[in-house]
């Protein structure tokens, strides 16, 4: 236990000395985010940011304001005040969206009033007014929230509140505009109802009702007033979808007629209508009106590009893209196909079969992986535009290296390293090949068949064992990956083997020396024992170094041990063992005699008589016990 305690003490002491090695570390140059102290955002910066957002809203730049507001998600807001900030942001966002909808509604209504679509304009204004009411309510909540945010983030209480209150002015402005339009519409409607204004009627016809895109369209119509009848010399606007096609002046009978080319719209159907918006003096006489609406079906052909690309392309190696431009019914010849790929663009014309072909070369520094190629054809006539994207896989092939190395090299002697470089079965010519091993760096170039060789002499300082070689090559061909190859060969260095050899030799010499020092067997003693005991020499030779009488005693002990079963222990003296076995032997005293003789031989002088007595006693004992 005492020693165990000491071992433990040394162990702990040693650990204490060595522990800093395992756990010490210099302070890192960055900070552990998990351990960093959380801080509130700076109040002034926060105010500035919200001022920016609310300012954008005031200037009706709602989209930008929303984008800025989205930026607040990158603020760090501590958990305890996150709800307050989050609620404030939500209210700003909602009010922004609501005010934006109000603004859009007013703009649409304005356009409709301009097109004399009063009923539709009124509906839009109603919706806008409803949104404005919601926005007003939201701004009210925002005012309260701004006070809470100011208190939580340490902003001067009125600063943020003032910015929010400014939104009320915008809402108020919107309300005025909405009611302004209401007023305009009301005045017109009131004028019609009170007969101050004559209602007007505008009807149109068009042909054809189905046509190819861009074709001519014939429109005719009539403008009539409820009292004055057909209205001549009035300007009527004709709309093709949202595009104003033309303004036409009515004839004396109120009719108008025009034939015109239509805009090229690749949509299946377009609504045609006309409107009359009286102005100047007419505005006090006639009410504005919108004609009946006619759907014009547009016929066109959808073009489609089908392109074929190779499954893999290689940097700096040209490849071909082919394809066909067609519609459902025919191939399209003479159309221009533009292609954008690898940071550039080229174009080609489709042939008679509608096919096209490009030859492209991926740049040498392009990254391996997928690259996008975009193809596009412009619309022409009744054929719509077409576009598609295809992906090509840019790959680099591995350089193949065939290396011939000796299986075993001897340090200090030159060795040949020969190799062959190729890729996809093509020899790589003129490639700089570098060989690195130990601290040496050698370079050479591959020849016309891609072969290279080095003659190197492994330094004698390298140990015997495996020797690592690095072979590096940078092919000029961009489509081949740089080569980095490691190999091992067996190195035999007699110099470094000197140490283990010397140690082995020393060991052998040492073993042999200790073998020589063994004492030679004493032949006379051996002969004596053989004579007395009659036992084999091989067995006796183990004890010949003892006095013959003593040896005789030990043979007697073996007999006694077998007979009595009592073993002579290492700590037994001759007398102790005698006392132990005497009760069992119960004999005349042969073993007593032998014990006495052995004691005399060991600790006293012996005489031939004693030896003779011992021999006789042994003989008697052996005959009796065996």
């Amino acid at each position: 236990m005492r020693y165990a305690g000491m071992i433990l003490a040394v162990f702990i002491l040693s650990l204490m000395v060595n522990a800093p090695l395992a756990i010490s570390e210099r302070p890192p140059r960055h900070l552990d985010l998990a351990q960093a102290k959380e801080e509130m955002p700076d109040a002034m910066s926060l105010l500035q940011y919200y001022t920016l957002v609310l300012g954008l809203m005031q200037s009706e730049n709602f989209l930008n304001a929303l984008n800025r507001l989205n930026g607040t998600r990158w603020f760090h807001i501590p958990e305890r005040v996150r709800f307050i900030a989050s609620r404030f942001n939500d209210l700003v966002r909602i009010s922004c969206e609501q005010l934006d909808q109000v603004r859009s509604g007013i703009a649409n209504a304005s356009q409709m009033v301009g097109q004399a679509r009063l009923t539709e304009a009124k509906t839009v204004l109603d919706a806008a007014l409803f949104r404005l009411a919601q926005a007003n309510r939201t701004i009210g909540e925002l005012e309260v929230a701004s006070m809470e945010v100011s208190r939580s983030f340490g902003i001067q209480s009125m600063d943020l509140f003032d910015k929010v209150v400014a939104l009320r002015r915008l809402a108020s402005d919107y309300r005025d505009r909405i009611f302004g339009f209401y007023g305009t519409i009301a005045r017109i409607e009131e004028g019609v109802e009170t007969k101050e204004l004559q209602s007007t009627n505008l009807s149109i016809e068009a042909r054809p009702l189905a046509m190819e895109v861009g074709s001519d369209l014939h429109v005719q119509g009539t403008l009539r007033a409820s009292i004055d009848g057909p209205l001549g010399g009035k300007e009527v606007g004709v709309y093709f979808g949202s595009i104003k096609l033309a303004s036409v002046v009515t004839e004396g009978d109120g009719s108008f007629e025009l034939t015109m080319g239509t805009p090229i719209l690749y949509v299946p159907k377009v609504t045609l209508f006309a409107s009359y918006l009286p102005f100047e003096l007419d505005a006090n006489v006639y009410a504005p009106t919108v004609s009946n609406k006619i759907d014009i079906e547009l016929a066109y052909e959808s073009a489609r590009i089908a392109a074929e690309v190779p499954s893999a392309v290689y940097p700096n190696i040209p490849f071909t893209i082919t394809g066909i431009l067609s519609t459902k019914t025919k191939v399209l010849m003479g159309h221009t196909i533009a292609i954008a790929a690898f940071g550039g663009s080229v174009s080609a014309i489709t042939g008679q079969d509608g096919r096209f072909q490009f030859t492209l070369t991926p740049p040498g520094d392009i990254a391996s992986g997928f690259a996008t190629i975009s193809l596009r054809s412009e619309a022409r006539g009744n054929v719509s535009q077409a576009q598609t994207s295809v992906y090509v896989k840019v790959v680099r092939v591995e350089a193949e290296l065939v290396l011939i190395l000796p299986s075993l090299v001897l340090a200090g002697l030159p060795m040949q390293v020969e190799g062959l470089l190729k890729a996809n079965g093509t020899a790589l010519k003129g490639v700089q090949v570098e060989l690195l091993f130990s601290d040496m760096e050698l370079a050479t170039f591959s020849d016309n068949i891609g072969c290279f060789n080095f003659t190197v002499v492994p330094p004698t300082t390298l140990p015997s064992g495996t020797l690592g070689l690095i072979i590096r090559a940078n092919p000029r061909e961009a489509w081949v990956k740089p080569l980095f190859n490691t190999r091992e060969l067996n190195l035999f260095n007699p110099i470094t083997l000197l140490f283990p050899s010397a140690a082995a030799m020393t060991l052998v010499v040492s073993v042999r020396k200790s073998g020589r020092k063994k004492r030679p067997i004493q032949p006379t003693a051996e002969a004596k024992v053989m004579e007395w005991t009659g036992l084999e020499a091989q067995q006796i030779s183990l004890r010949v170094e003892r006095h013959p009488t003593v040896e005789l005693y030990y043979w007697a002990v073996e007999l006694v041990q077998r007979f009595t079963g009592m073993m002579l222990q290492p700590n037994h003296t001759i007398r102790e063992y005698l006392r132990l076995v005497q009760p069992i032997l119960q004999e005349s005293g042969d073993f007593d005699t032998l014990s006495l003789a052995a004691e005399m031989a060991l600790y006293w002088a012996t005489t031939p008589d004693v030896e003779l007595i011992a021999q006789k006693a042994f003989a008697k004992l052996r005959s009796r016990l065996s």
Partner: protein, 325 residues
């Protein structure tokens, strides 16, 4: 048990334990790809398919299709290393250097570029994670990256006319020149460039003014994880592992490995084996000689320690005086 043996056993046990700790404890160095703690880059290393470069001179001369990352270098760059990087970048390679207060300016100087990492601490009181020392770059022109989380970052002093800044800090950020962790009146405020690209020969050099963007503690934030793949496209990523300073544990690990490799050499192994055998033989022989040299009484006492040595000595003297042997 004798004290020397006790001491030896104690030392042996503690050495074995220390060696085991060194072997099994993960490294805790900054940026180490095997370090799983907050300041390591194990997550980044596992996420990307990265080849570690232990010697910058071994980067391919032609870097087309490859991107070399040098993150948080602390050791100086050798002229031969700069030449290798120069050849790599000018022959179509993409070099991405992320640094703040390290040695990357040496490399930029070696590449004859005028843009530098300013070494001034960037803080942002509004756009940050937890506190201003963890600012966010919010205005970014690189693929789908919208924000980059930074950690104790600096800014770029863009000096190359053909350089193009790709990411900026927010307008609220400032330079904490005296590092007192607050904005003082004289300290610059505004949007500062934190990422830029400079065309370089057939390749390009990207600079990011924070070395910590890809450490385990930061890669989980914002778009940090996508930043490399966005910049590098499908290029093979190479990561320079030769310019990080090593802590005592890593040095001990290196030493342990070197020791292991040294003792694995056949010549050393066999020399030690034979020398050990010789020593064992010597010790055993020495002991035998020691026992042989003992007095007869001492030998008897070794076998029977409970006997009386005085009586034995008396018997021996009597025998020597009166006996024949």
């Amino acid at each position: 048990m004798r004290p020397m043996r006790t001491l030896a056993l104690g030392l042996l046990a503690s050495t074995a334990l220390i060696l085991a700790i060194i072997h099994y404890m993960p490294p805790i160095d900054d940026f180490n790809p095997a370090n799983p703690f907050w300041n390591g880059m194990s997550g980044f290393y596992e996420q990307q398919r990265i080849t570690l470069i232990q010697d910058l001179r071994l980067v391919p001369n032609r870097g087309a299709g490859q991107a070399l990352l040098i993150i948080g270098p602390s050791r100086p760059f050798l002229p031969s290393e700069m030449q290798a990087v120069q050849a790599f970048a000018s022959n179509g390679g993409m070099l991405i250097v992320c640094d703040d207060f390290g040695t990357a300016n040496e490399l930029l100087e070696g590449l004859r570029l005028s843009t530098r990492f300013s070494g001034e601490l960037l803080e942002d009181p509004l756009f940050n994670i937890k506190n201003p020392r963890f600012p966010r770059a919010t205005e970014i022109w690189a693929g789908n990256i919208s924000t980059i989380a930074l950690n104790y970052a600096t800014i770029l002093k863009v000096g190359d006319t053909n350089a193009r800044a790709l990411a900026w800090s927010s307008h609220f950020s400032y330079i904490d020149e005296n590092r007192n962790e607050r904005h003082d009146a004289t300290e610059s405020v505004g949007s500062f460039p934190i990422m830029a690209v400079i065309p370089y020969g057939q390749g390009s050099v990207y600079l990011i003014s924070d070395s910590s963007t890809f450490i385990n503690g930061m890669i989980i934030y914002d778009d940090n994880a996508q930043l490399t793949s966005t910049i590098a496209g499908g290029r093979n990523l190479l990561l320079d592992a030769s310019h990080w300073s090593e802590g005592p544990l890593t040095m001990a690990k290196d030493l342990e490995l070197k020791g292991y490799l040294f003792f694995s050499r056949p010549d050393v192994r066999y020399t030690i084996f034979f020398i050990s055998l010789i020593l064992i033989l010597r010790v055993r022989k020495g002991r035998a000689a020691e026992i042989e040299g003992l007095d007869e009484v001492e030998k008897v006492m070794m076998e029977h320690p409970d006997w009386d040595a005085e009586t034995l000595r008396k018997i021996k003297e009597d025998r020597e005086e009166y006996g024949a042997n």
